[in-house]
């Protein structure tokens, strides 16, 4: 299971059986070039590329790039 925060919607969800960033983006209906996929971790959050594998218990933040401001 992974924990996902959708920053733009201020929403948190949990997903089972999502093994990679590509799979996660497909599930969330997001395009790789339209959001940052960030793994929260001690010592500094990390950006993930679409081919990166996800691990059980990962805490991921999705930051849409086109949020206005």
């Amino acid at each position: 299971m992974i924990h996902v925060t959708l920053e733009a919607q201020a929403e948190q969800i949990e997903l089972e059986n999502v093994k990679s960033v590509v799979a996660l983006l497909n599930k969330l209906k997001r395009k790789p070039a339209r959001c940052l996929v960030i793994r929260e971790q001690e010592g500094g959050d990390q950006l993930l590329t679409p081919d990166a594998q996800l691990r059980y218990g990962d805490r991921i933040r999705i930051r849409d790039v086109s949020s206005r401001g």
Partner: protein, 303 residues
């Protein structure tokens, strides 16, 4: 995925460049794109003072920091529109960011000129975003002109530029097409306008901000309306996903092959500008748009 340059693990994938980069190599890539943009279109030199229009969003903050780190003489300008739950939050982020990086910042409060946007919104009938945009552009230009900045730089990215080009092309809008591009010359009371991020996407500025730890303003404006422009911007992004590199080539080809024709056409047919009779700002209508907004606010009892 491995970094194309140094083979360390990549943190960002860039399909349009068929590559991925680690953090350090991404910064190098980003700086080179800005440098190439500035030099290829002679946007400004290191001897010229440049005013950078700052909204508090990722693109303008990334631009200000990057130009500063490349030793350009930059000053940020934030126009505080007085919009509740938005302007003050953006301003606080901008002030903290500039203080942390030792960047020069100026702030103009439109309320001090009788133009707080909530007051304007009550007084005018037109959609507030069009009016608000006019007010912002007015003060960016005014400060650039009054203080003799050589150029006014904005954080427009390739997504903004290609999206706008698509919109203008769908209407074959001659005047807008003739004005589109990374450098617009100073003339008739308008400062030179430049867009040093035109080779970089919004995704890339978002990555830059993340990796630099820039805390930018993300929450939207309470008055934001769904405009047709973001739809086209999204359409362009969809096209880019299917054909990486298309967005940049669409824009660069326009600059090279399409724009000269529109510029020539506008030279013959363009409207004549003269200083506003009230404030001296260039206009084709006697009294400029902002002075007319001020009059409407005064009529509505705002000032």
């Amino acid at each position: 995925m491995k970094c194309r340059r140094c083979k360390e693990p990549a943190v960002v994938a860039l399909p349009s460049h068929n590559s991925g980069f680690c953090g350090d190599c991404f910064f190098m890539y980003f700086s080179r794109q800005v440098d190439k943009a500035i030099r290829s279109h002679e946007l400004f030199s290191r001897e010229e003072p440049v005013l950078v229009a700052i909204s508090g969003g990722k693109d303008s903050l990334a631009l200000l920091l990057e130009l500063h780190s490349q030793d350009y003489q930059v000053t940020g300008l934030f126009v505080d529109l007085g919009i509740p739950d938005s302007s003050d939050l953006a301003r606080a982020k901008v002030e903290a960011f500039c203080a942390a990086h030792g960047l020069d910042l100026q702030v103009v409060e439109t309320a001090a000129h009788g133009l707080a946007i909530p007051v304007v919104k009550k007084a005018v009938r037109r959609p507030i975003c069009a009016v608000c945009g006019k007010v912002k552009r007015y003060y960016f230009n005014k400060v650039a002109m009054d203080q003799n900045f050589a150029a006014l730089a904005t954080g427009h990215t390739l997504d903004d530029e290609a999206g706008r080009l698509l919109a203008n092309t769908l209407r074959w809008d001659g005047p807008y097409l003739s004005d589109q591009g990374p450098r617009l010359e100073a003339e008739n009371g308008f400062a030179r306008k430049v867009k040093p991020l035109f080779r970089l996407t919004e995704f890339e500025t978002a990555v830059y901000c993340f990796l630099k730890g820039i805390d930018y303003h993300m929450s939207g404006c309470p008055y934001a309306q769904g405009a047709s422009f973001p739809v086209l911007k999204e359409a362009m992004a969809d096209l880019e996903e299917k054909r990486p590199g298309q967005m940049l080539s669409f824009y660069l080809s326009f600059l090279e092959k399409g724009k000269p024709a529109f510029t020539a056409m506008e030279k013959e047919q363009g409207a004549d500008l003269a200083p506003c009779v009230e404030c001296g700002y260039p206009t084709s209508a006697g009294t400029c748009g902002v002075c007319r907004i001020k009059a409407q606010v005064a009529d509505a009892g705002g000032i």
